[in-house]
């Protein structure tokens, strides 16, 4: 049984009269890798800062181990943070940066030396103790920032877009390393990012946010395969979203044709949003196909081709291994279990 | 820093500034229209006597002093600009390793007492001077000869002002030129402008911020000071500041009026600086 470590109860935070975080409810389990995902300005960083104690919620409660901690300042919380752009202390060297928190907690000198050394090993910078922070590369600063936080053995580690400033290759390596680190240390990670790929790769749980409101909470596969609404479907990966009608159980109609489907939680005749991922569409002969269109563009993407096919004035994006010529007439096919239906949202932003 | 609480630290400063800047300015304005005994208002009445003392055609002595003050300050500022801009440009565009040394060289004179430097300058500009006295030992001589006393006084004052305030022209201009992105110059050349055109169309307009600050930082002290003028003219010349110096104990109303004349200039300059340099980046 997972134990709830932190709970956010009906939290709201206002800036200049607008709600940046709007009545959110969320709990975080012990040992969980949870990611707050959303576009910039969605309130994810503010949420993180409220967990860290840098901001106070205007209403609602932050509960930690059963106690309300709204008024506990950051320096009294068993939480450490890896800040965006690292916030390393420029006047201290690597060792003193990492030892900073331990010294403030009056840890004995010998123990500090040992823990700092271990932390440096953990982030694979064993011989960097005496380096000046200004002379480090972005990736190295990142590692120092992580070491500076984990050396304090926090219960929870907050990470605010920690990889945003790194280049692609390094970012991918670090994703893997962070995940490994979390497993080894057994610390709860609360991770903020706007990069959906990063979220999908690393997280146990993803919280998708928009305009201060939680859109969906779920596992990476759950959120990818069964997005709750258009926003989530668009934000997590590419998708084709179509207007459709739930005809009856296991039957949906869109683009003037009827398709088998597996979703069941709708009323007969209810309008629905239909989501089909680009890799779930297959190209077949035009003859006899339910969806027929003309290839309008084709781009080589390395592993696959990205085709755009115009069907009745609607553009479909398809990922396929075999190329088709622009102008060619093709048919499209989709398996019933790859058609995902969502409730129609009346307010479309 | 994200905590707004720290903003409170600036509040006492606001009060301090209001007391030491706001109240006196108000007093200066009021006192210039009164006849008071010092700062005591007892028995004082409203009058424009102080203003009439300056702006009257019956006795133009004070107006002539104002004119002479303006002329010396103006000429000194123009010369400072003509010398200071190229010097700033040369430092800013010199190879990096020299820059700090050259910059320090520009600042070093400021650590000698500026009045003492002008005493020394007076010495050099005198017909028999210490350099001449030294050089005569090896059979050389050094002496600057002026056509007449008035010319000698005017030129001496201008040289004194220029040499004293030149660093205040060089430093702000240097600061802005140094910050101009080299790639802008390359872009300009790439787009077909030659060196001269690049300077005229890119570097110079971008350095206007520093030029403005420099001109103000030179003109204001040249216009409002009196010590350098007195030292170099051996007390024969009166400038606006001298009028303040002579009257500050006995005629505070006249002094207030003179202050307003200077303040008008200052307010104008502050408006200009506030427009071109919001964060005061060229002032230090």
């Amino acid at each position: 049984m997972a134990k709830k470590l932190i709970e956010l109860k009906d939290i709201t935070k206002m800036y200049d009269g607008t709600a940046v975080v709007d009545h959110i409810n969320l709990y975080i389990n012990e040992n969980e890798f949870i990611t707050l995902l959303g576009p910039s300005g969605c309130g994810k960083t503010t949420t993180l800062r409220m967990i860290g104690g840098f901001e106070k919620p205007d209403s609602g409660e932050v509960v930690m181990n059963g106690a309300v901690v709204n008024d506990i300042p950051p320096y009294e919380r068993p939480i450490n943070t890896v800040f965006q752009r690292y916030a390393l202390f420029p006047h201290l060297n690597v060792y003193d940066n990492i030892a900073f928190g331990l010294r403030n907690q009056k840890v004995p000198k010998a123990e500090i030396a040992e823990r700092v050394e271990n932390a440096l090993k953990m982030v694979s910078l064993p011989n960097f103790a005496l380096r000046k922070v200004a002379n480090l590369s972005g990736g190295q600063m990142q590692r120092v920032a992580i070491a500076r936080a984990i050396v304090n053995k926090p219960k929870i580690l907050l990470l605010d877009e920690p990889l945003a400033a790194l280049d692609l290759k390094l970012r991918q390596n670090m994703q893997y390393e962070l995940k490994e680190m979390q497993r080894k240390l057994g610390i709860t990670f609360v991770y903020v990012t706007h990069d959906q790929e990063e979220a999908l790769t690393m997280s146990d749980t993803i919280v998708v946010m928009k305009d201060g409101v939680i859109q969906q909470i779920g596992t990476p596969t759950g959120i990818y395969n069964e997005p709750k609404n258009r926003f989530v479907a668009r934000f997590i990966g590419e998708s084709n979203i179509l207007d459709g009608v739930y005809v009856r159980q296991n039957l949906v109609s869109f683009m003037g044709a009827e398709f088998d489907c597996v979703d069941t939680q709708f009323a007969d005749g209810e309008p629905v949003d239909v989501v089909i991922r680009p890799e779930d569409l297959d190209i077949i002969d035009a003859v006899g196909a339910k969806l027929i269109g003309e290839v309008s563009s084709s781009i080589f993407r390395g592993v696959h081709f990205e085709l755009c096919v115009m069907v009745q004035g609607k553009e479909f994006v398809i990922h396929t291994y075999e190329n088709r010529k622009v102008g060619e007439h093709v048919g499209l096919r989709v398996d019933s279990y790859e058609i995902h239906l969502m409730k129609v949202e009346h307010v479309e932003h | 820093m994200n905590i707004k609480k720290l903003g409170k630290l600036a509040l006492p400063y606001l009060v301090w500034m209001l007391v030491l800047v706001g109240i006196p300015l108000l007093m200066i304005f009021i006192l210039s229209f009164m006849n008071t005994d010092g700062v005591s208002f007892a028995g004082a009445t409203w009058t424009t006597a102080a203003w009439e003392k300056m702006f009257t055609l019956a006795d133009t002595t004070n107006l002539q002093i104002l004119g002479y003050t303006f002329l010396t300050a103006f000429v000194a500022t123009v010369i400072c600009f003509l010398i200071g801009y190229p010097m700033a440009y040369i430092v800013a565009r010199s190879p990096f390793s020299n820059k700090f040394v050259i910059l320090i060289l520009t600042i070093i004179p400021m650590w000698s007492n500026s009045l003492l430097r002008n005493v020394a300058l007076k010495n050099i500009l005198s017909e028999s001077n210490i350099l001449d006295s030294l050089l005569s030992r090896i059979g050389l001589s050094f002496s600057i000869v002026f056509a007449n006393q008035d010319q000698a006084t005017f030129i001496s004052i201008v040289i004194g002002l220029v040499l004293t305030f030149l660093p205040f022209m060089i430093l702000p201009i240097y600061t802005v030129i140094e910050k101009i992105d080299e790639s802008l110059l390359e872009a300009s050349m790439d787009l077909g402008a030659n060196r001269v055109r690049t300077f005229a169309k890119v570097t110079f307009p971008l350095s206007m911020k520093g030029v403005t600050t420099g001109i103000i930082m030179v003109f204001l002290p040249c216009f409002s000071g009196f010590a350098i003028q007195k030292l170099l003219s051996s007390g024969t010349v009166y400038v606006l500041g001298s009028l303040i110096e002579v009257n500050y104990i006995h005629d505070i109303n006249f002094v207030s009026m003179l202050s307003i004349v200077i303040l008008v200039l200052i307010f104008g300059s502050m408006m200009i600086v506030n427009k071109v340099d919001k964060e005061g980046a060229t002032l230090v």
């Binding site: 380096r131 | 301090w16 303040i244 200052i266």
Partner: protein
């Protein structure tokens, strides 16, 4: 459509030949540095004369060099000065040191406060802060004199060292604020939060993290404040009461012979400052070089 280029004339063509261009370039360089050196020399000429005077044995004639002596230097270094000069120098140094210390501390605190204000208020305070810098010294001097005259009604002893010190603190603070503000702006926004995150209480966070990180700006401000205070004449003139600082002393003696020790004192002081700065520069660049050697930059 092509841009029609004018065919360069013979002279232009000649001037554009690489070997000619090279010569022209070096002539321009020489002229450039000659220009610079000439005016630099002019700025230094009075200082050279001051240095010469500090060794001048002459006691009677002002502008004659009658012989070389170390006496003036010796007198300064053994504090064997006539009492008015001694007082002027000690007043100047006392006020400069106190004013520098006080304005550095206050200016740093004020700068942190201003930096934390919302943008509109911050710009207003930055503008207000510039007032004493842009204001003519004479106006600042008179303004403060008015305030002290009112204060003197209540506290009669205010004119003298107290008024002088307050006046100097007043015009030094803005320089410290202006030097510290840009350093604060360069800081990572999260630096202070990071300190709190790592178990610093708010006040400790400022002294342990913010202050060290903006130290270069504080030192610059301190140096400027000291420079301004030690050289001030106009503001001191109106606010010194019966006390003299060195500038007032020199000004008062414009028509008579100054005690020759003034020249020695001035030369000693500027030499000390210059040597100290050069030492700082050399040690910091040595350190930098050492660091570069030890820690090659990693990509």
């Amino acid at each position: 459509m092509g841009v029609r280029k004018k065919e360069p004339g013979r002279i232009t063509r000649y001037l554009r030949r690489p070997e000619v261009e090279k010569v022209l370039q070096s002539i321009a360089n020489v002229l450039k540095y000659a220009f610079f050196a000439f005016f630099m020399f002019l700025m230094y000429l009075p200082i050279i004369v001051i240095a010469i005077q500090s060794f001048n044995e002459s006691t009677g004639l002002i502008y004659q060099f009658t012989g070389f002596t170390f006496d003036h230097w010796k007198n300064v270094l053994t504090f064997n000065l006539d009492s008015s000069l001694m007082k002027a120098i000690s007043t100047t140094l006392l006020v400069a040191l106190l004013a520098t210390g006080i304005s550095t501390v206050l200016g740093t605190i004020i700068a942190i406060g201003i930096h934390s204000l919302p943008q509109k208020k911050r710009q207003g305070m930055v503008f207000l802060n510039q007032v004493p810098i842009l204001n003519a010294d004479i106006i600042t001097g008179i303004s403060l004199m008015f305030v002290f005259k009112i204060v003197a009604e209540v506290i009669p002893g205010v004119f003298g060292i107290p008024s002088l010190l307050i006046a100097h603190v007043f015009f030094c603070i803005p320089y410290v604020v202006l030097s510290v503000l840009p350093k604060l702006a360069e800081l990572d926004d999260n630096l202070y939060d990071a300190a709190l995150d790592l178990y610093c209480k708010p006040a400790v966070g400022i002294t342990k993290v913010i202050i060290p990180a903006i130290m270069p700006g504080i030192l610059t401000g301190m140096l400027i404040a000291f420079t301004m205070s030690i050289d001030d004449f106009l503001i001191s003139f109106f606010n010194a009461g019966q006390v003299n600082n060195l500038s007032i002393y020199i000004y008062g003696g414009y028509n008579r012979r100054l005690a020759p020790e003034v020249y020695a004192y001035n030369t000693i002081l500027s030499t000390v400052i210059i040597v100290a700065l050069i030492a700082m520069y050399v040690s910091s660049s040595l350190k930098k070089r050492k660091n570069l050697k030890r820690e090659p930059r990693h990509a």
